[in-house]
Subunit: 464 residues, 2 copies
């Protein structure tokens, strides 16, 4: 039989690149088929000039993200702390205030309520069986309601609901109504806790990469070199127990296994021959991508710092609900980052670009003063418009999906294996999870093909 | 410009066939592109011999389904009442009982509770803005919770929850946890009420077609003749304001407009050039198909009738939760119909066929006696396994979908129009709704192309 590779990897995002790297290190021939003209998937950097970069895709690294840290070390990628000095800004009930530390100056009853509810969530999350969430005690009950319903029943104040809504939007780029409570708990457990999800210092937003997280993907891609086939969207896959054939515009490829490392909703659009079982197909019908437009305004310098502001802010009015200082390490130029998430992204994704820009800058100006209204440059990335992402940050599970379809998420089907941040057990939905998923799929394929996994021992040690 | 038709219709289900028929009656050239080797989509009949038919797809017609009735009249299709004489059977808490009429002999507190909750649902459904559910008063709140959450909060007895769960499974082939409360109310309102949805006499299950509902599609298809192109799955559509080009294995077709008459989740898998807006794409990521396996056991005669049983039954144990007498009009042979729906279909869809058959027949035997265990013939249709349906009866909306994405459901995009039972305003999800959706899309296209719609006046009159 002619083969072009031992394994075909579909998707050159961080999951696919990690899988391919691991497979090649174990001596297998690999081809990575990528739809875009670039590698990186949901990682994408943009040049600011003078060797400075910002990420318009995923960008942060937090503590306990050991796989991402190991990759950065291996690639020699420098990181630096997210700027978080000085006071944060909050727009709340029509007024803008500044505060230091984690706790805004708002009604103490709201703060106490929020803290109480957060503790309750942490306690529930601890009970989740992260490997198999459907085996969690009372999984059906947890999975039968939205996180919105749980918040309605468990918060005492509207303020706490609003704060948690903003947190949910920031983490999933979706609304509390969209997400199953069980999924919310699973995701929290997979990251090690709610504070880890929403935190900067000590949390998932702690560090950035000098060359951009997009740079990690480019470097990984460069090392794979000609094993990556760009502009090769995969529409059809013919497969059997020990054979996969994929026709692309760049030729037809044959191999013994394939790893599909792309968002579930996109994996579900491929035509498989033979067709996939209904159980798997119905799963991918039920995992939608979040909705985010990442907006950045560029200024000569980060003027808010001089006013003692960190650039970290939140607003109950929006449309931007969360902001960050996204300047390069030396603070030249100054970059304000604002996220349009969930409903705000859905609504503003449909208006004229000038109107959206005005709404974002108006929000920046309310938080950081009139100077924020006139940036040197403004740009945005609307991930739902990208045909090969169709949403960010991540696919989420609505009610009923984990308990009805969970076992279909990672189970290989003949020669087909699944990867991608949505399949990760640890740091699901994050770069760290994407790497984990790629390594897991690679390990499974290596075992099937009777090869030793190079580097697995090291990873096991690091996870222990 | 070369054109092969004025309008291309994608999908030869009832919606597509109805659209094409209407367009052709108004003098337009039409091509219907159908993936399968047959017309009918989710309508499919099976021969029992001696000119007898059963439907393994959609089959029933109810009062107020005026479009379906008009079509049947036009095609000369005879209908007959679903067999509903004698007593119904119910398996409840480990015991099988018989009862006459609508009300089983179970705990009166459960019956009263069920009735009370049903009335409450009817009252809520009356407030839904059926054309635009997202404009319903308090739509966000209604759409932010699952029907499960609402049942938990609004039923007093576990029995009422079980009865309503069975009803939900029977109507949507999904679980109360899967469905947004707003969607449940919209769907109820679109059918004219909850009793209309679940009823036999006076409800959606009232009548059947002598030649099968599948026969309607075949006859419509025969009249369209060579305007239908079979085995032409549509994977890519190139489109502009006044131009649609579709390449299929049966050639490439050019036209001025296209009507996509297929389930939203399948329409979302097509590659569009230019790509569709994120708002539309994210909608189709969020409308999953229900899960049903339609099972039929064939006996020499409908022996349950001699025992005074109607063949209509329900079971709180399952796996079949609802049964019907599905014999031909003359009762030769006898056919018992059992639905595996929602979770039961997901679970039993993954086991060996013999095991599934045994579980179904065991349930029939508990309800109708040991004779039911040994049919002459047994067959089933698992719609989630069908690559060109991927679930039945219908696509449903989980929490948040209507209020976030509703306007994308029917809005044309340039030359592309949408049809299918999921887009219907009246009898959404039913054959009647499919016809409505086809006629609506045809009318919109005719208006754009400056043609008078033939037959619209008649329809308007009939709806008034």
């Amino acid at each position: 039989m002619r083969t072009d590779a031992d394994v075909l990897v579909v998707g050159a995002g961080l999951a696919g690149l990690s899988a391919a790297t691991r497979l090649r290190a174990s001596g297998l021939e690999v081809k990575v088929l990528e739809a875009r003209e670039r590698v990186g998937g949901r990682l994408l950097r943009r040049a600011l000039g003078d060797g400075h970069w910002v990420d318009v895709g995923g960008q942060w690294m937090g503590p306990t993200q050991t796989r991402l840290a190991a990759l950065a070390t291996e690639l020699g990628a420098e990181s630096f702390p997210t700027y978080a000095q000085g006071e944060n800004a909050i727009e709340w009930k029509g007024r803008v205030k500044r505060y230091r530390g984690d706790i805004p100056h708002i009604n103490p009853a709201v703060l106490l309520d929020t803290l109480r509810v957060q503790r309750k969530l942490e306690a529930l999350a601890k009970r989740v069986v992260v490997q198999e969430p459907w085996l969690t005690p009372r999984a059906r009950e947890l999975d039968s309601q939205t996180f919105w319903s749980w918040l309605e029943a468990n918060t005492l104040t509207r303020g706490a609901r609003t704060l948690l809504e903003i947190a949910v939007e920031a983490v999933w780029a979706a609304e509390p109504a969209d997400i199953s409570l069980l999924h919310m708990l699973f995701y929290t457990a997979s990251a090690g806790g709610f504070d880890q999800l929403i935190g900067t210092n000590g949390g998932a937003q702690q560090d950035r990469f000098v060359q951009g997280a997009g740079g990690l993907a480019l470097e990984l891609g460069a090392r794979l070199g000609e094993d990556i086939v760009l502009q090769a969207p995969v529409r059809e896959i013919s497969h059997a127990a020990d054979r996969v054939e994929i026709a692309t515009g760049q030729g037809t490829f044959l191999a013994r296994r394939a790893i599909l490392a792309l968002p579930p909703t996109l994996a579900g659009r491929i035509t498989y021959e033979p067709p996939l079982p209904g159980f798997r197909d119905q799963l991918t019908q039920r995992i939608a991508q979040g909705t985010v437009i990442k907006c950045m305004a560029v200024y000569e310098e980060p003027f808010w710092r001089e006013q003692g502001l960190s650039g970290q802010g939140l607003s109950d009015r929006g449309p931007v609900r969360v902001t960050f200082d996204n300047s390069p390490p030396d603070g030249r130029p100054g970059v304000l980052l604002g996220f349009l998430e969930g409903e705000q992204a859905r609504r503003l994704g449909r208006v004229d670009g000038a109107e959206r820009r005005a709404a974002v800058l108006d929000c920046f100006a309310r938080l950081y003063g009139p100077g924020a209204a006139s940036p040197q440059d403004y740009f945005e990335q609307a991930w739902a418009e990208e045909p090969f992402s169709r949403g960010c940050y991540v696919g989420f599970f609505g009610p009923g999906v984990w308990t009805s379809y969970g076992p279909a998420l990672r189970a290989p089907i003949g020669a087909l294996h699944w990867a991608g941040a949505e399949t990760a057990v640890r740091w699901n939905g994050y770069m760290d999870g994407a790497i984990e998923s790629g390594h897991s799929a690679a390990a499974a394929v290596l075992a099937e093909l009777g090869r030793d996994a190079v580097g697995e021992a090291a990873v096991a040690g690091e996870a222990a």
